[in-house]
Assembly symmetry: C2
C-alpha cells in the first residue's frame, strides 16, 4: 500500500521539477488565457470589432482583414480595403497581438489602443472619418447602453471606441498549444520530430529574434540581415518612421504563434509555403542553407505553436436608426 | 388548501385554451427551433458558410452578404461582390429562409440546397467556378474528414457542398419573438400598441400576403398591385423566369420576421425607414393611405417579430495546403 502511494508522489515531484525548469529555462514562454479584463468593455469591443458600420461602405469591419475564423488574418498577400483597394502590406494576426512591444510592421502605434482607431480613417482600409464613426455609434441606443456599462457614461469618443476594441483584442490569446503543454511538463505533447525542430530553432539562432510568449513581437530586426531579401514591395519598414537610413528594412519581428494559419508570409505576403519561409529566414537572416529535412523539422516545431483559437460567438449588432449615417459605396 | 390548488389549475387551463386558440386561429404561426438535423452536416455547413475560399478572391463568404451579426443581410441597397461589383438586387435574409416556398426574389431556386451553389459561380458575387470550389475544399484534409462524418465518404461534390450549407441554414431560425410568446398565450408579451398594430395588419389586408410562420415567403405577388411602385431598378421579377408578361414585377413576398433588422427595404433596397416601407405597402398594394399613427402601430407590431438571433460560434477554418488554389484578386 505504501509503495503505491509513494510512487505516484515521486513521479509527480519529478514532473513538477521538469515543469518548473522548462518554464524557467526555455526562451519561449507559455501563453495563458487573459484574465482581469473589464467584461462589459470586452462585450462592447466585440460588437465594434464585428461592426461594418465603422467603415464608409458599411461593408468592412476589423474582422474582414483579421478574420477570427482564419487565425486573425485574411490569408491574402495584402488586404482588400474600401472599393477593392489592394493594401500595401500583409495583414498581421491579431491573435496574441497584446504581446507585441509595439503595433504595426514598422511600430508606429505604441499599443493596441493606439492602433485601433487607425484603420477606421485609413482611406485604403475602412475609409471613414473618426467623426462619422462616432456619430454612427452614438446614433444607436443599444450602443449608448453598452458604453454606459463599460465606461460609466454614454458619451462616445473615438478614444473610447479604440479602448473597447483593444480590450476585446486582449481576449484573443491562443493558450494550450502542444508546445505550451510540453513547456508545462507533458513530454508526450511534442513528437520527436518537433523536439528536434525546436532544438534546431535554438541551435542555429532563430531564437535570437523569435522568443518570449509570442515567439516574436519583442524587437525590430532587419529583413535581410546577412543577405538582401528580394521583394517587389517598396516598404522601407522602420525607416519610414525614424527617417534614419540605417533603419531601412527593419520590421517588427512577427509572432510565430499560429504561424501555420497566417500564410502568406513576410510583410510582402509573397511566400505561401511555411517551409519555404523557414528556408528563406535561415538564408537571409543567418546565412545558412537548410536541408529539406532540417526545414521540415522546424516546420513541425512551428506547427506545435498553434493554440486553441478563441471561441467567439457572433454578436447580434443593434440596428441603425434614422440618425445613423448611410453607407457610401 | 384546496382553493390554492384549484385556482392555479383553472388559470392554467384558461391559459392553455387561449394558447390553443391563438395558435390555431391566428394566420401567423409560431417559429420553433429546428430539430432533427444531421449535426455533422450542420458543422460542415457552418465551416463552408464562413469560408471565403469558396470565392475567387478568397475574401467573400456567404456571411459577407448574409451577415449573421446583422439579421442575415448586409444592410446595403444591393450587395458588394467580387472586385466591388455592385449587385442588381437587395440581399434577402437567410434567417428562417427554409420557410420560403421557393428561394430568390423571383423564385428561380426551388429550395435552400438548389440555391446554395448559385452564388459561388455568380460572377457578380463569389465569381468562382464549381470545379475550383470543389478542388479547394478537397485539397484540405480536415474538410475530407468533415465530409466523411457528414456523408459517409470523403468524395466531395458541389452538390454535397450545397446540401451541407443548406443543412446549416436550417438552423438559422429565430424563435421566441415577443409575437410568438403572445401566440403561445402570454398576454403581456405584446404592448397595447403592438396588439393594435397587429389588428390593423389583419383588418386592412396585409395578412393576405404576409402570413404563416415566416409572415411571408408563401407566394408570389405583384409589387404595385393597385398602383405602380416607382423604382430605378430594372428587375422584372418573376417574368424573367416565366417569360410571361403578366408576371412582370411579381416577386416572392418576403418574410417580415426580423424585419426591423433587414433594412433597406424592397427588392431595390431603396427604402431605409420601416415606417415608410409600411406606408408604401398600404399605398401600392392596398390603395390605402395610412395615418402616421396607424403606420407607427404597424411598425410596433412588426418589431415584435424580431426573434432570438442564432448564437453562432465562429468556426476555426482548417488551413489551406500547397494543393489549394490561390486567391485571384
Ligand atoms: C482593409 C484591411 C484591414 C482592416 C479593415 C483592418 N486592418 Fe488591422 N491591419 C491591416 C494591415 C494591412 C495591417 C498592417 C499594417 C502595417 O503594419 O503597416 C494591420 C495591422 C493591425 C494590427 C497590428 C498587428 C501587429 O502585429 O502589428 C492590429 C492590432 C490591427 N491591425 C487591428 C485592427 C483593428 C482593431 C481593426 C478595426 C478597427 C483593423 N485592424 C482593421 C489590415 C486591416
Ligand atoms: C535577425 C532576426 C531574425 C532571425 C535570426 C530570424 N528571424 Fe524570422 N523573422 C524576422 C523578421 C524581421 C521577420 C519579418 C520579415 C518580413 O516580414 O519582412 C521574420 C519573419 C519570419 C517568418 C514569417 C512570419 C510571418 O507571419 O510572416 C517566419 C516563419 C520566421 N521568421 C521563422 C524564422 C526561422 C525558422 C528562423 C531561423 C531559421 C528565423 N525566423 C530567424 C527576424 C528574424
Ligand atoms: C455578393 C453577395 C452575396 C453572396 C456572397 C451570397 N449571397 Fe445569397 N443572396 C444575395 C442576393 C443579392 C440575393 C437575392 C438574389 C435574387 O433574389 O435574385 C441572395 C439570395 C440568397 C438566398 C435566397 C433567400 C430568399 O429569401 O429568397 C439564400 C438562401 C442565399 N442567398 C444564401 C446564400 C449562400 C448559402 C451563400 C454562399 C454560398 C450566399 N448566399 C452568398 C447576395 C449574396
Ligand atoms: C398583394 C400582396 C401584398 C400585400 C397586400 C402587402 N404586401 Fe408587403 N410585400 C409584398 C411584396 C410582393 C413585397 C416585396 C416587394 C418588393 O420588394 O419589391 C412586400 C414587401 C414588404 C415589406 C418589405 C420587406 C423587405 O424585407 O424588404 C414590408 C415591410 C411589407 N411588405 C409590409 C407590408 C404591410 C405592413 C402591408 C399592409 C399595409 C403589406 N406589406 C401588404 C406583398 C404584399
Ligand atoms: Ca501573413
Ligand atoms: Ca432588405
Amino acid at each position: 500500500m505504501l509503495k503505491t502511494v509513494i510512487l505516484p508522489l515521486s513521479l509527480l515531484m519529478l514532473t513538477l521539477s521538469v515543469q518548473a525548469s522548462r518554464i524557467d529555462q526555455e526562451p519561449i514562454k507559455v501563453i495563458e488565457p487573459a484574465t482581469g479584463l473589464n467584461t462589459a468593455m470586452v462585450e462592447l469591443g466585440k460588437n465594434l470589432w464585428f461592426d461594418p458600420r465603422l467603415s464608409k461602405s458599411n461593408a468592412i469591419s476589423c474582422n474582414s482583414c483579421h478574420n477570427l475564423a482564419t487565425g486573425g488574418v485574411d490569408n491574402l498577400p495584402s488586404s482588400i480595403g474600401h472599393q477593392w483597394t489592394i493594401g500595401p502590406i500583409n495583414s498581421p494576426t491579431v491573435l496574441n497581438a497584446e504581446y507585441n512591444f509595439v503595433q504595426f510592421w514598422n511600430g508606429r502605434a505604441k499599443d493596441l489602443k493606439a492602433q485601433a482607431s487607425g484603420p477606421i480613417d485609413n482611406p485604403k482600409e475602412m475609409a471613414f472619418t473618426h467623426q462619422l464613426a462616432v456619430e454612427t455609434v452614438a446614433s444607436i441606443p443599444a450602443y449608448q447602453t453598452m458604453f454606459t456599462k463599460a465606461f460609466g457614461s454614454k458619451d462616445i469618443s473615438i478614444d473610447k471606441v479604440a479602448q473597447a476594441i483593444a480590450e476585446f483584442e486582449k481576449t484573443l490569446r491562443t493558450p494550450n498549444a502542444n508546445f505550451d503543454l510540453w513547456l508545462k511538463g507533458d513530454d508526450k505533447a511534442l513528437t520527436a520530430k518537433q523536439k528536434a525542430g525546436y532544438q534546431l530553432f535554438k541551435d542555429i539562432g532563430c531564437i535570437a529574434c523569435h522568443s518570449g510568449p509570442a515567439v516574436g513581437g519583442q524587437m525590430y530586426q532587419k529583413m535581410g540581415l546577412v543577405k538582401p531579401y528580394k521583394t517587389n514591395n517598396p516598404d522601407t519598414g522602420r525607416a519610414a518612421i525614424t527617417n534614419n537610413p540605417s533603419d531601412k528594412h527593419f520590421f517588427k519581428v512577427p509572432t510565430l504563434r499560429n504561424v501555420e494559419l497566417t500564410y502568406p508570409y513576410f510583410h510582402d505576403g509573397a511566400i505561401w509555403s511555411l517551409q519555404e519561409a523557414v528556408e528563406i529566414m535561415a538564408d537571409v537572416q543567418l546565412g545558412r542553407t537548410l536541408s529539406k529535412d532540417e526545414s521540415a523539422k522546424i516546420v513541425a516545431f512551428l506547427q506545435s505553436l498553434t493554440g486553441e483559437q478563441p471561441k467567439v460567438t457572433l454578436p447580434s449588432l443593434p440596428p441603425s436608426t434614422y440618425k445613423t449615417p448611410q453607407p457610401k459605396l
